[in-house]
């Protein structure tokens, strides 16, 4: 192929800074080796990762593009997309005015593995590698506390280990968990995050054995992508209606890579039902939508593309301008460009809140 590399484009507004709350640097199992005991390295290389899904190797659905990545994100020197810091800098971190980018590692991390102890060992290794392999090389890259969330005790240990470490931005869960996230078995995860002063980030996907939909397994990748919305609705409804936010008023939740168009109708529906069914959930002291507005943050990507931009603006207004944070999903194929994805009619102050200030405030970034 006859291709010249694109130079980083000069952006007109050079004062602007961006905090990106969702990027996916790629690591290999060899990267994690120094942080795994011999026992778990042998386990990994002998048995592999055993996620709770039909296909032990690969994804339940073929992705849109290889590694679910932008075609132009494969480093010219070889390796997987976002596995090479220099190329990631050239294509993303330096090409845009990125002040911080929060890493949400997806695999290999051991999350959703059938072996609970192995899951915990992998989470520890994934966290160490985020620090040593990435943050140490570029301090803009902030880590997530990867936790074996199906095991509350092990999760508590890992979160406690990272408490007070400013290199970590949030505690990372997935949306497809074994049970609904409002259930009691996950409460220790929230307690640990609050004790550590960290928000909880819930990223879409997960291999805990549940389908994307609330019923069966879909046929197509397009369903796998679309049903994140209904999955997130079910998880947020569970958190609200189980009274998690009444029990943990300091809990802050960030819904990551789910877009946000599903938020207002969920609030409307819960409020309407709550007026008639209050007796079913006497632990709730206010309308369900109020808990959503107080405790839920959203990341932008993949931005909904409404037929009329006003519909999108209305949706964002309902969620709250201070609750929406830009995310790119680099290097994945549904990447959102910070300068092109947001509705063009947003004024400079609002745009700045979404691109930078909201995340700075939530994550207490300098």
């Amino acid at each position: 192929m006859n291709i010249e590399l694109r130079q980083p484009e000069l952006r007109s507004n050079t004062r602007l800074k961006i905090v990106d709350v969702d990027i996916h640097p790629k690591s290999s199992i060899e990267d994690l080796k120094p942080y795994l005991s011999q026992r778990w390295w042998d386990h990994l290389t002998t048995y592999g990762q055993r996620t709770r899904q039909g296909y032990l190797k690969g994804f339940p659905y073929p992705k849109m593009q290889p590694q679910a990545s932008r075609r132009d994100a494969w480093p010219p020197d070889g390796g997987l997309p976002a596995s090479n810091l220099n190329f990631m800098k050239q294509q993303f971190l330096d090409a845009y005015p990125i002040e911080y980018a929060i890493m949400n590692p997806l695999s290999p991390t051991g999350q959703g593995d059938q072996n609970s102890e192995f899951s915990a060992a992998m989470a520890f290794a994934a966290n160490e590698f985020q620090l040593e392999g990435w943050h140490k090389q570029d301090q803009r890259l902030l880590a997530s506390v990867v936790v074996p969330f199906e095991d509350a005790d092990a999760t508590r240990v890992e979160v406690k280990r990272r408490a007070g470490d400013k290199r970590f931005a949030h505690v990372l869960l997935k949306t497809r968990t074994n049970d609904l996230l409002g259930k009691k078995q996950y409460w220790p995860v929230y307690e640990a995050a609050i004790e550590a002063g960290l928000p909880i980030g819930i990223h879409v996907f997960g291999t805990s054995g549940r389908p994307a939909s609330n019923t069966g397994w879909p046929s197509f990748y397009i369903e796998d992508m679309t049903e994140h919305a209904s999955c997130c609705q079910a998880q947020v409804a569970s958190l609200v209606l189980e009274g998690v936010f009444e029990r943990y008023p300091e809990l802050k939740i960030v819904m990551i890579e789910a877009g946000f168009g599903w938020m207002p109708p969920l609030g409307w529906r819960m409020d309407k039902n709550w007026k008639k069914l209050k007796a079913d959930v006497p632990h709730l002291k206010k309308a369900p939508s109020e808990y959503m507005r107080e405790h839920i943050w959203v990341s932008t990507q993949p931005m909904e593309e409404a037929d009329t931009p006003e519909q999108l603006i209305d949706t964002m207004r309902w969620i709250g301008w201070d609750r929406i944070m830009y995310s790119s999903d680099y290097p994945h194929w549904d990447f959102d460009d910070p300068f092109l994805a947001l509705p063009p009619s947003l004024d400079e102050k609002t745009r700045n809140m979404i691109l930078c200030e909201n995340a700075r405030s939530l994550y207490r970034l300098g």
Binding site: N2, I3, R6, R70, D72, D336
Partner: protein
């Protein structure tokens, strides 16, 4: 509109493409079986670079379960979100009536003619015995 010499013909063999810059605009030049086409490199959706995408066939389906694959290599897919465009027309696969990527006229000129002018090839060494791709932009 002025003619710009962007490449020698043998630089872009059939099935290949090249990203060129004309007056600060990035343009992707494609060779489909000896015919040249030039498209604005910027995807009208979110700005991905079409020259970095893959070239695929036209895939059509009348009913679920039946697929027709034709014109291999004549559609370019944006490397980001996979929007596909017909290289011959610039029209989008999903909404050809309303959405297209800008196309520029391309001609092939012999070097002997180019040396005479009025083409803009200041930074481009033109040899009389070769043929060149000229974009009107």
């Amino acid at each position: 509109m002025a003619g710009h010499v962007v490449a020698a013909v043998d630089e872009i063999p059939p099935g290949q493409r090249k990203l060129v810059a004309v007056n600060g605009r990035n343009i992707a030049v494609f060779n489909l079986g000896g015919e040249f086409f030039a498209l604005n490199d910027r995807c009208p959706h979110r700005g991905g670079s079409l020259a970095h995408g893959i070239q695929t066939a036209l895939v059509e389906s009348k009913v679920p379960g039946e697929y027709l694959c034709s014109r291999p290599g004549e559609m370019v897919k944006c490397p980001w979100h996979g929007w596909a465009f017909d290289i011959r027309t610039g029209k989008s696969w999903c909404d050809p009536a309303r959405l297209r990527v800008r196309q520029y006229p391309v001609t092939v000129k012999p070097g002997a003619e180019l040396v005479e002018g009025p083409y803009q090839a200041e930074s481009f060494p033109v040899r009389i015995e070769n043929n060149y791709i000229v974009i009107e932009a």
